[in-house]
Amino acid sequence: MASNDAASQVNQGAGFMGWLNKRLPVNKFISDQLLEYYAPKNFNVWYFFGSLALLVLVMQLVSGIFLTMFYKVGDTTAFESVEFIRREVSYGWLIQSLHAIGASAFFVVVYLHMYRALMYGSYKAPRELLWLFGMFIYLALMAEAFMGYVLPWGNMSYWAATVIINIFSTIPVIGPGLVEWIRGDYGVADATLNRFFSLHVVAIPLILLLLVALHLVALRQVGSNNPDGIEIKENKGSDGKPVDGIPFHPYYTVKDIVGVGFFLTLFAVVVFFVPTFGGLFMEEANFEPANPLSTPEPIAPSWYFTPYYAILRAVPNQRIGALLLLLAVLAFFFLPWLDRSPVKSVRYRGLWFKGMLAVFTVSFLALMYLGLKPASASYVNAARVFAIGYFSFFVLMPLYTKWDRVKSVPKRVSFHE
């Protein structure tokens, strides 16, 4: 206790900072979170995506707040108000593009962030809860993105809402009533648009911010994993600090700023030169107003949902298809308990895990591609094959992680340059 008191004496400072620190733990917070927070010194490029996700979240909040100032919710006004923003509000085209493309950017960085965890076993003990909070963020993000996609009330908005809400109708007994309750009408209508607006702008952002806070608190509690999957806290020097750790500030704050620079450059190139990204980030059918009498053809969800959509479509029974879609998302939640391997990082795993991770990677990307294609027989058959690959990564994991011949993990982190 004495040393703590001494430290706080040193940190409190004099003058205004001293006055402030007596009333608000400013220096203590900076010290705990940045200066005295030790992160492994072997982070590679895969460790950029957490801070980038935070950056995109802030960008979405700011651009979203400004869009809300001009957007007019309602089935007769929504589409027109988005056109108004794009054509007549000063720099409205830029704010709207930043927000719409930001949604895709969010999923790009989140998918890479999640893939990092798969490669380096960041979901394994003691980081199970950190992983679960991350997965809940992913779920909230999917809901946020889906509802945001409905708001411009373009024809693809309308039909995406129709198809996605109808997935709930496959639930036995309560399904049809539940769908009517979600829509607030006998079809997707003004009532649906209004409640989605409220959820997109108020409820889900609040939930997202809370989950992000929990994710960060849990991260500070267990510490970051690293590409070697070595617990740096288990090897401390005589000063009580991890020998393989470096203070988050200035080392990783500066490194993250470099990542931010790269990211914003790429992001700006997309926003200014290829805003629709070949129909992936903005879809042509959504530049037409919602029309309940005309389904756009071909119809495909946003690229970040297509792996699950391809699985849904691959099953010739609608109830089982919807169930497999749900399981495909939920499977990630169980990873910490499916993985029986004694090592975390792919660097020290055997051929089994490496092979299955490759199968998963190929399957996920292939399903993403197939979900964007029309539902012809050859595409559907291919989707069936890759759906089996996708699920075998999870279902067989307790077996192959046990059989795997792992290498021994060194005590110190290494650099692969």
Partner: protein, 202 residues
């Protein structure tokens, strides 16, 4: 202050649990209006009233699309030849007798209709709600030589025949739904009300 030492832990636990349970009941009551607010409003219900359709200009092989309760309704006339052929492909259907499908009792037959010549179907695919497209020409190049004519959904490829019955291999599991309807006279169809039809059938 002797009674301060004798804390009745059982009593404390009972009071804690009883308070929590009461609060839980309160939460359920307080949540009810908010949950109920999501149900279709009185206005939405009123706008879901029956509609009338004039069939006098509808030729066999032609189709009309009307909207009832935000759902497109397909109304088309079948020729006697089409009606005769409907039973021929029962083996290719998931539910030829409509026993697992959703339709009024008076439409639970081979034609899935009150009258064999007039078909009335809710045009939202029973899979996930897209609009199946009209593919009335038999032996379609894309759908195969044995295609008897019907509908194909552009979203996920479900196929239906001219009675709205789903073909094997479709992601949809049940036939297109049939709304409640009746005929005011030979050429006037009422969608959304089946009082006359039910009385007529009885």
């Amino acid at each position: 202050m002797a009674d301060q030492e004798a804390v009745d832990l059982d009593r404390r636990k009972f009071l804690t649990v009883a308070t929590a349970a009461t609060a839980g009941v309160g939460v359920v009551f307080a949540a009810t209006p908010f949950v109920a607010s999501w149900s279709p409003s009185e206005r939405a219900k009123a706008l879901g009233a029956p509609i009338t359709v004039d069939l006098s200009k509808l030729e066999p092989g032609m189709m009309l699309t009307y909207v009832w309760r935000k759902q497109p309704i397909y109304i088309f006339k079948r020729t006697p030849e089409t009606v005769a052929k409907l039973a021929a492909h029962d083996a290719q259907l998931k539910d030829p007798k409509s026993s697992d499908s959703d339709q009024p009792a008076y439409a639970t037959n081979e034609m899935r209709s009150l009258r064999p010549d007039v078909a009335v179907l809710i045009a939202t695919c029973t899979h996930l709600g897209c609009l199946p497209k009209q593919r009335f020409e038999p032996a379609d190049a894309e759908l195969g030589a044995d295609w008897p004519g019907g509908f194909r959904c552009p979203c996920h490829g479900s196929r239906f025949d001219l009675a709205g019955r789903v073909f094997n291999g479709s992601p949809a599991s049940v036939n297109l739904r049939v709304p409640p309807y009746n005929f005011e006279n030979d050429n006037t169809l009422v969608i959304g009300s089946d009082d006359a039809a039910v009385q007529g059938a009885a």
